[in-house]
Amino acid sequence: MIPHSGPVLEAATTGGSLLVLALVVPLVGVLLAFAAGGRQVERIALATMPLGLAIAVAIAVVMGQTRAPLVYLLGAWAPPLGVALRADGLSAVMMAITALVICAIGVFAHADFRTPAGSLEARAPFAFWILLLAIWGALNTVFLAGDLFTLYVALELVTFAAVPLVCLDGRAETLQAALRYLLFALLGSVLYLVGTVLLYGAYGTLDIVLLSRRVHPDAATLVAAALMTVGLLAKTAVFPLHLWLPPAHAGAPAAGSAVLSALVVKASFFIVVRLWFDVMPGLPGFTAAQLLAGLGGAAIAFGSIVALRQERLKLLIAYSTLAQIGYLFLMFPLAFNAGSAQLESGGALTGGLLQTISHATAKAAMFMAAGLIYAGLGHDRITGLGGVARALPLSVLAFAAGGVALVGVPPSGAYLAKELLLQAAGETEQWWWAAVIQAGGIFTAGYLVLVLAHAFAPADEPVTLQVRVPWTREAAALALALCSLVLGLAPWEAYLPASRAAPSGPLVLKAFAAAFWPIVGGAVLAVLLGRWGKRLACAPAGFLVATAGPLRRAADVVGRIIERADGTLRQWPAAGLSLLVLAILFGAAMLPAR
């Protein structure tokens, strides 16, 4: 997306100081909150949020007018001597969505993380608000950094702020999940760092634009590219490097899970995109792109099947994140242009990025809704969800809207993304990825149907809510889900390459057509693979479940095998070995490109 030539990238542009503000404002918030402490922490955080949102919007507006990247040179030193901050269309879109999600999470978390009356300072609120602002600042750094080393530091900052969010409640199992997450993430970032130093040794610069002009396929570059890619994949929790994700995302408090799943994994994904599309578009070649998307396809099948077999709602959503992350990697082979042997920033990249932001908004909404259901019922067992649709209609609606948006119903962002990816698959004649894309939609519909069938089932006894759920919290979740549903209507062509106009014609008919087959397929999957309580026996779903008996037993065997494989892959030695094997495979796959 960053143009590879032209003087504009080596000089500061007007509006460049906005980029500095985007970094400085959340971090100043962190420092102020840290110094002030006590009750001031949440006030400072809540005051910072509209400010940060305004800055992100301002950057998007300026870029929409100038249609050119914004650049700021730190200390007015041009690269390679100095360090530049650059915002292209991808950065602007990611920053705007990040600001939106963080603000919604702020509204949602306000009730959970309030310093109780009578105490001067409580540990969890103090940590939560500071960490939330720190994650925001670090994410903005990831989106704006103009060189690979700044990206490394930003990536580490994201991890350091995200890990404590996992164990905010201090229970032993969340502490273990956090420690696991930290150690595996450190392994990933060390591999990234090795790649960085090798690139510096070969080319004498780490600036993205300068590197993209100099990079050529020699041995050191190939090793660097393979190590950096695999390191980032470990941090993104791509199958089979996902050992840390399910316990970390399921164990964190609801607001924390929303941040981790919606935003934190996107940071390392964004760096993979930067690396493959901006730094070395000609290096990976056909085979490596197929390998990367192959991991994504495996993640979709594997994550979805394990998700459907979970007993707890939060774990189901955590495993579905695993599948959705896999979906994001499908864009790499579709962006490969066989003529120029390069990854091209076109429709496929736009589709992948739209899927990224749709997932960010929808998944945050779904985790928030699950958190509210957990708080309301006092548990989140899927088979015990009966009657919750009557007790917490707005939360269930938010969950459903987020799920429907992810299935790809127009005018959602995921629908537009799916259209663009399918179009790219057609143009590059890679029909197998079109099949995987469709399967991804069906699996997503599968867990949506499973959860909603339970939520709408009648309860044995009237549901009594454990706590009163304030409407502002439900509204925050619902707003994000609705936002994901209408993302396809936004004017993306100003920011993303080869974007298309919003779908025209009778929208209701189109929505029905787009949703029908995935939801039918999803229902079949849910009936075959899901867990069904005895209570549903009289409902139509119960009838289906009973009729599908023999098939369900066969599906159960498959499910068990996959679950056992998941258990094995999530052990340290297996994950570590997969990491090394993948590094070698990526190196070998990039060799033919020489």
Binding site: R180, D566, L580
Partner: protein, 113 residues
């Protein structure tokens, strides 16, 4: 064999030992130590790369040295965070292993560290 080669081989050995330890050791404290060994190996590579500048008459290229200082700070903070988590874990459970994770389901999902 030039000095740069010797340093490079030492760095490779440290990285290899660190990787081995990080992947195979079940104890978190040993994993943290292995991570530090791995990090030291990588920092040594930075030092080797800094010799690039020597060809043009400088004593060394200053940029990798600046990068390595930042890298050390990051590795130090990471170690501090990991040790703090480990101490909390020890206080909470009385043991410092990752053996029993937050169990999604007992049985098939039981995972060792």
């Amino acid at each position: 064999m030039s000095a740069a080669t010797i340093f490079g081989l030492c760095a490779a050995a440290a990285v290899g030992l660190g990787l081995y330890g990080l992947i195979t050791n079940p104890q978190p404290l040993r994993k943290i130590l292995a991570f530090n060994l791995l990090g030291s190996g990588v920092f040594l590579v930075f030092g080797v790369v800094a010799r690039r500048g020597a060809a043009s008459g400088f004593g060394g290229d200053p940029v990798p040295q600046a990068l390595v200082i930042t890298g050390i700070v990051v590795a130090f903070s990471a170690t501090a965070l990991a040790v703090a988590l480990l101490l909390r874990l020890f206080q909470a459970t009385g043991s410092a292993t990752l053996r029993a994770e937050a169990p999604p389901r007992t049985g098939s999902d039981a995972t060792a560290a």
